[in-house]
């Protein structure tokens, strides 16, 4: 679970989002309070190619071009799991010194986005004023 707190947002949060959006896997921890990535998070960069290898699902492996891998973090168990709090992040695989363009996946992304601004949400109707 990502948390943007009053301090604004911190870089590790951005990287977490990017990594997961790129890999296309991950989720919050099941049960209990959502996983929070604190601003003092420490983690280890891992190529997505290795993430895919760790992900046992054939579908996941087929989506990721392992020859041109951006970076992500992952858990050793891989499939369907968000990188949990850093203490649980998988074994270090060493820093990667270059990143390659992301390869297109075969699938289509369908996005449904809804946004109601604070000025338009008609607080008077909600009894908030």
């Amino acid at each position: 679970m990502l948390v943007a707190d009053r301090a604004g947002y911190s870089d590790p949060l951005i990287y977490e989002v990017v990594a997961l959006a790129s890999v296309g896997t991950g989720q919050t921890a099941a049960g209990g309070d959502p996983v929070v990535m604190p601003s003092n998070t420490q983690s280890v960069p891992v190529p997505i190619a290795q993430t895919a290898a760790a992900d046992a699902s054939p579908a996941a492996a087929s989506r990721i071009d392992t020859s041109s891998a951006p970076l992500a973090t992952t858990t050793p168990s891989g499939a369907g799991r968000l990188a949990p709090p850093v203490a649980q992040v998988g074994p270090a695989r060493g820093p990667v010194t270059s990143a390659q363009p992301v390869a297109a996946s075969a699938g289509t992304l369908y996005l449904f986005a809804v946004g109601i601004s604070r000025y338009e949400r008609a607080d008077y109707r909600l009894g908030l004023l």
């Binding site: 679970m1 990502l2 948390v3 943007a4 707190d5 009053r6 604004g8 947002y9 870089d11 590790p12 949060l13 951005i14 990287y15 977490e16 989002v17 990017v18 959006a21 896997t25 989720q27 919050t28 099941a30 049960g31 959502p34 929070v36 003092n40 998070t41 420490q42 983690s43 280890v44 960069p45 951006p70 970076l71 369907g80 968000l82 010194t97 270059s98 990143a99 390659q100 363009p101 992301v102 390869a103 297109a104 996946s105 699938g107 289509t108 992304l109 369908y110 996005l111 449904f112 986005a113 809804v114 946004g115 109601i116 601004s117 338009e120 949400r121 109707r125 909600l126 009894g127 908030l128």
Partner: protein
Amino acid sequence: MKDAGDFAEVMKAQEGRQYARVVTRVLTDAQATRQSVLAGLQWLSVSVGPQDVGFLFLAGHGVSVHAGQYYFLTYESRHEQVQQTALAERDIRLALRRIRGRALFFVDTCFAGNVIGDPKSAGRELARMANELSSADSGVVVFASSSGRQESVENDAWGNGAFTRALIDGLRESGSSEPKGADYFQGP
């Protein structure tokens, strides 16, 4: 709302890159009535194939009216008729579970207090819903702007809520061929 449009725009830029195609549907402010949002959820559910990815992004206000139920307020929501005019948790959950491919849920909502219940309660309900969605049964990837005891923030200077801003900034950088910020996790 700017958040929804900006997020759709940055994801559209991934067409031909991370995704072969990117199809977006955006509802903002007055367009976001309960019926139109329900129709959009239905569209998402039936459109996403087994090899596809479905994103649901909600930015706005969330409330908890009766203990145990989270509602996303639509444009027409009224405090005296939240259940009839807002988007119920079950509608969100059902739509996401029907997605045949991979499903991701992004939610950037602050919580309404005063007349409509306790904001802390709404936060807890969202956290509970997120955990249920991300359970093994549902398998939905959930990104939320706050957990049960936190408050999502927005700032005019950012032009977005903090969560959405972080999301957009990160994704905009992700296509870079240079090994800079967005490609790495970094410590403090």
